[in-house]
């Protein structure tokens, strides 16, 4: 009883420990600078391409990709929506903000695919990895996203890169989980069939498991991408430019009009990204 009493009197210094840990991390400045430069290069490449493309060509490309992705089932409605939506964004003067947001989302998506899919596969293959990774994923998903901004700034400074890092941490779990689920859901007899013909582990993965898990895996990527997009306003607080920062400024100026306009632009972008990735997923379903 006395112990419990003293516990309430003297808080355990969790906050201190975490600060010390983050400070300790900052000594590996070379490592974090390396990551910053690397992600910065990806961001800059995307932005460079988007700045280079004339608006009309960009719209034509988006329509073209949609047309190709939809393949056998043509949804002219979606393409019409894309045309009107993108023209509207241009009309409202949010074009460059939209491309910046798109850059943030695409960079984050690229990273979560590159990290998430192999990690998900590894979890499916190794029980130990699964036991270790699962609680970490739970933690990543339930921790309020704002919290990630603090160490992100400490380690990566401000700007697009810490925005990408925070988005990646927030949107990685569904990709890992869905990949893991997809691989584990491959029917046992198909695995046995692959094994019984003498497949190597890689052959089994590439010729059987991944193609069969593809749909589940792609919906994980789709979810991850949507979560990354939901992070853009939060990321704007640490200097990630784009539609998110327009919304953030509008909040500061108490300007409902421009807040909603920028918000609509995000919605339009979200719908386009969602429908196009889903179209890739449904494409050639057997």
């Amino acid at each position: 009883m006395a112990n419990l009493f003293s516990l309430t009197m003297q808080p355990i210094p969790f906050a201190d420990w975490i600060n010390k840990f983050v400070n300790w991390l900052t000594q590996f400045v070379g490592f974090f600078n390396g990551i910053t430069d690397f992600i910065g290069a990806i961001v800059n490449s995307f932005q460079w391409v988007f700045d280079l493309l004339p608006v009309w060509l960009f719209i034509v490309l988006v329509l073209g990709i949609t047309y190709w992705a939809l393949h056998d089932s043509k949804h002219w409605g979606l393409m019409l929506f894309e045309l009107i939506g993108l023209v509207l964004i241009y009309n409202q003067g949010y074009w460059r903000d939209m491309t910046q947001t798109l850059t943030l989302v695409l960079t984050s998506s690229l990273i979560i695919v590159v990290i998430g899919i192999p990690l998900g596969i590894w979890m499916a293959k190794s029980h130990t990895v699964k036991v270790i990774v699962k609680p970490i994923l739970d933690f990543m998903q339930t921790m309020p996203a704002f919290v990630y901004l603090i160490p992100a700034v400490a380690l990566f400074g401000i700007g697009m890169v810490p925005g990408v890092i925070a988005s990646v941490i927030f949107s990685l779990p569904p990709v890992v989980r869905m990949t893991n689920l997809g691989i584990e859901q491959v029917p046992t007899d198909l695995i046995e069939a692959a094994d019984s013909f003498g497949s190597t582990g890689w052959q089994k993965l590439i010729k059987v498991e991944l193609p069969i898990a593809k749909n589940t895996l792609m919906s994980g990527v789709n979810q991850g991408m949507m979560l990354a997009l939901s992070m853009v306003v939060i990321a704007s607080m640490i200097g990630a430019v784009g539609l998110g920062s327009e919304v953030y400024f509008a909040v500061g100026r108490n300007n409902a009009g421009s807040g909603f306009t920028a918000g609509f632009a995000i919605v339009i972008l979200a719908i386009i990204l969602d429908r196009v990735t889903q179209a890739f997923n449904k494409n050639k379903k057997h």
Partner: protein
Amino acid sequence: MTKKVEVKHLTKIFGRHVGRAKEMINEGKSKDEILAKTNSVVGVHDANFDVNENEIFVIMGLSGSGKSTLIRMLNRLYEPTDGEILLDGESITKFDKKELRDFRRKKMSMVFQNFALFPNRTIIENTAYGLEIQGVDKETRHQKAHECLELVGLHGYDDRYPNELSGGQQQRVGLARGLANDPEILLMDEAFSALDPLNRKEMQDELLDLQSHLKKTIIFISHDLNESLRIGDRIMIMRDGEIVQIGSPEDILQHPKNDYVEKFIEGVDRTKILTASRVMIRPDVINIEKDGPRTALRLMKDNHNSSVYVVDSEHHFKGLIDAKDVIKQIEDDKRDLQSILRTDVPTTTPDTPIKSLLNDISKTSVPFAVLDDNDRLLGIIIRSSVLGAISGNEVQNNG
């Protein structure tokens, strides 16, 4: 007959405390006891059997009898806990990863109960899978796969996907895929169980037909006794992870080893399984080259028969003579038997199922003569011995 596969003391225990479970088995503890104490399941215990080259060896048992576990140890989809498997005298159980892969690619392939076709691959790609992973070039492997599809009677589906095919067609693909890498041994795990009865029978016929010219060693798992009796050269009956009896279909029908097997074979249509050689009796015969009418008549009197079968010195079947003809011949004081020889006697081969003879047996008054390939008389079939065999009583060779 050469032994293709030899299985020695094969045991599989599932669970975490395999070592303890193994000790308990050796102490003769029951499976329930082992499950309760060590939380381990004994899948197969001390299985010993051989599979001969080019035979269809059926492993039969109800679900939970360990037959699926057993077949999966043969290609090491399940690692045996104990024991050894030899293929042509070489130990499969000692193979390292690479040797095991080569063995699976070249020597043994498997056909699955629910077909296990890859849904993302076309029929031809499914069939060619085994060759594809061996690095065979596309043209060669598709050529080979196409031949195998033709062989199992599937024409024009090469570029379709599995879900566009019926169950029977899908299992033909499964079979073609198993044959494409030209294995020596084919493992078939309840391969026809998921098919409707009509399709199942058709596939069984197809398999027997294929086997008659492919001559593979086939290990076939089944829970269906009629199927086992129909296609098996030999049958192994399993129960609770242990082998109950191994034998030819006839052995099992005629000499069930215990009550369990006996209960199993109740209600089986024996006429489909029992062959002429099993129900025939050995008749007394006369030799046309040296015996005369008087010998014939005496033989008939001794046996209380009105006729006798006639052979030559090499035991070739010649025909049958009736008592009244013999008596007439004696009255006429003739020694010649040739002129009174009746040759209109129905004949059959030893491996004909009696089912196909039943109708004729009921119609003709004379017993069937059972002849071998060289027309030598092996025995005759009389009605009473057929009835005896159908009712499950052993035929007495009292002829």
